[in-house]
Symmetry: D3
């Protein structure tokens, strides 16, 4: 993966903004794994203190998933990418919505976390395709 | 504006996630006004300490503009909205990109801040239309 | 409201500090609306996961109310304002205390959120008077 | 100082809000020492990278001074304290304003940091008096 | 304590990094007192809203304890210190682990907070010894 | 890498604390790549606005490197690991110190960022060994 990080930038980066040009969907994925891990532990432990702490921490990790996805969507992806992948906007919107795990019912459902990981996987696949463009 | 905040939610909110249902593009706009104000003061003061502080603070405010826009895009707007306003995804993407004010050249250009305010205005117009739907 | 934001600054701003001169009590009000919205949803949903998430998020929004009020009190209001409105210090102190919603009993009481909104309204009224001074 | 932290709470704490009842002006003071230390190093080093980093970090520490003072003002001090010390509101307002070190000219002036430390000292003195009440 | 803060730096500081050279274990201790205070109040109040808020806030304060300890360990202590106090690495690691209060069972146990305070005390003792070196 | 994330935990995790058990040194590495990228861009662009923004952003990313390393050191690694890798404490201390890139002179030196990446690589190697233990 290190090799890929150093791969030459495609032309859409020509006028890249400052920060650094380093993006990696792994950041969102690792936090989403964490969300899933928390849900699994929540399901198997009914101590109320544990469960409250789990929900507090899950809320934070989920917020980080959203943040990392938003940064990719705004800072990494450029107009030519959105032309090439017309569903990319919707994909990001669905992924960040899933990270927010709306309804109270769904919010400790491990399957929701797996859906989120799948979406991030789709984004990741597109991301690495654009890096190799 | 208070009246509008208490206006009945449209049906797209039916399955609204927890937080509260309170969103307002004014949050992004106020921070963007701040970005513009900083750029104006930057332009008219060449004290180096002042200018460095201005850039530090502008970076923070711009980050907040992005955050507030991302929240609207992910948490407030629902699939029916994106169907009704097909350019909404792109509008948000352009607005958040402008908030990031990529290139070093543009980053203290007051006109860039005005472009950002116009985009937020467009978003705001759509937002209030959907509230009255 | 945009018009008012661009209104000429009164003389107390003559030595205005850097940031930008853009302040707006709407920032505190929107977060306080959010606190109120959360309390309402809390009251009408007894799912424990939902309720814990509600309390976590409410704690954050309340913190933001406090922050926005503190910034107004410290950064916007200047000595002449405090002379003109002798109860302004106390008003801000009461408003931020309300945002902290001290006692466990009161902390999910919607009436407390309404008190908070009233205090912010009083501050807002004074704020806009000073802008038109 | 540990002894004082464990001293019995005065009656104004009777309806103390949750968090913990632990407050200490040392938190504001330590950050203000840091602001002063940064200014001293800024004055004696004209490397531009060093100076920019100094200003970035000073901005953060100053923000923390403000935050710790705001928390004391809102969360620790209660109405009876403000009656007993009628200038306490103004003292806090002046201290937080100094922490913000408004004008560009003053913002790297070590004397400003010393003024800030004096104000915090005054607050600290009152604080410990109220603890022993 | 003020006197000590201004005491001449020992030689290990010769190449001190920018920030300011101001460190004080009191920052970690005050947050740890707060964690202990919260646990005590948690133990004596079984209102579920109160308890959830207590856990949310405790999580934040514990995170701050960790942060202040990490900063001391990385930014204040230098190689000669670690040679002089060979158990210092482990001491910090144990203290930060305690601040994280791993297992659900232990996480509202006041004794755990007291252990944490003892560890911070040990660190504090070493810290002040190195200042006087 | 996904495979490895799901590999069975070694026994030292038996009493694993809540959060989730998901750790990955990639988080520190990605931020460190970012620090390096910023330094490279800094070196090749002498626009003062660009350079100030670069330093502001680098300071943030470096702080994140430190944070991710501290979390690994405190939350992931357990006493048996430190016995097995006696230099692990020092390795983390050196890596976080490098992330802080003390002196003004070194702080925009790309070689320093490469040293940091090497240290993170060493940590990463140990991390994955302990996962496969």
């Amino acid at each position: 993966m290190l090799a890929r990080l150093f791969a030459p930038r495609t032309t859409v980066h020509a006028h890249c903004d400052l920060p650094c040009g380093v993006y990696d969907p792994a950041q969102a994925r690792i936090e989403a794994e964490s969300v899933k891990g928390i849900m699994e532990k929540y399901a198997s432990n009914d101590d109320p203190v544990f469960r409250t702490r789990a929900l507090v921490i899950k809320e934070e990790r989920a917020e980080l998933v959203k943040h990392h996805l938003w940064v990719l969507w705004t800072d990494y992806f450029k107009p030519p990418h959105f032309e090439q992948y017309p569903h990319l906007h919707q994909l990001f919107n669905e992924a960040t919505k899933l990270a927010g795990t709306a309804g109270a019912k769904g919010s400790v459902d491990v399957a929701k976390a797996e859906d989120l990981l799948s979406k991030i996987d789709e984004i990741s696949k597109i991301f690495w395709e654009t890096k190799q463009g």
